[in-house]
Amino acid sequence: MSSIKIRIKLLENDITQVRALIAHPMETGYKKDEKGNKIPAHYIQELTVKHNDKVISNSIMGSGISRNPYFAFKFKGGKSGDKITISWVDNLGFTASEEKQIK
């Protein structure tokens, strides 16, 4: 199971909406567990959205993004059969990437 779920919708005026739901703890590093130990910071730092091989958006973020992040983007020129790729990198060096075709 991928940690990224992608939903794509073709809207009016040649606009495509891409929504992504990512399974990630987004720990700030401030929170403590039941024993009072600090839970180490663990959060996504970079997110990239691609339409075929072209980058639509690339972003940087901190732990101020909510746990299990949700994002939505819009771009022009998306067509049925085109590929959308979303990938992230977190502060511990983990990465994930997911592709989906526009229906």
Binding site: I15, T28, V55, I60, I65, P69, A72, K74
Partner: protein
């Protein structure tokens, strides 16, 4: 170093990621792990974070940034935000919460085919302003909105 945005985007399509430091238009070439500008995301006051990000750039208040945010957020750990910039040639959108320990939440950069739109869910430590800054052309614009937070979300 002055480069056109198109050239810039071409560069960042290649495996190396280039991030612009908003202040000067200087581009850093860095590997994925090293790109992330930790200085922007450290615990700091809002004022100092703004200074780090934008230097002495003038920030112009605008109504051309449309914000959709709750007036009252019952849970500060999950505050939905939808941003649309109607400013022509919007290249990036930056989100800050002025009373969060780390005020900078995220910065989204847009290619020319992208619509200057982003939806996300953010954390807010306490009642404060959400400030959204858009870079359009050579100018920086902002819009802010106060969100009342019932239960803070910084632990979450």
């Amino acid at each position: 170093m002055i480069e056109t945005r198109r050239k810039f985007l071409k560069k960042f399509i290649s495996t190396t990621v280039y991030l612009s430091t908003l202040t000067s238009g200087v581009f850093y070439s860095i590997s994925a792990k090293a790109t992330w500008p930790s200085a922007y995301f450290r615990e700091n006051s809002y004022r100092k974070t703004l200074k780090e990000l934008f230097g002495d750039q003038k920030l112009i208040e605008t109504s051309d940034i449309q914000l959709k945010l709750p007036k009252i957020a019952e849970n500060g750990a999950v505050v939905p935000i939808i941003i649309t910039s109607k400013l022509e040639n919007t290249q990036s959108i930056t989100i800050l919460a002025d009373k969060n320990p780390v005020p900078l939440i995220a910065q989204f950069n847009f290619a020319d085919t992208a619509i200057a739109y982003v939806s996300a869910r953010i954390k807010m430590a306490e009642t404060s302003n959400v400030v959204v800054i858009a870079k359009a052309g050579d100018n920086y614009y902002f819009k802010k909105r106060k969100v009342k937070v019932t239960i803070g979300g910084c632990g979450g």
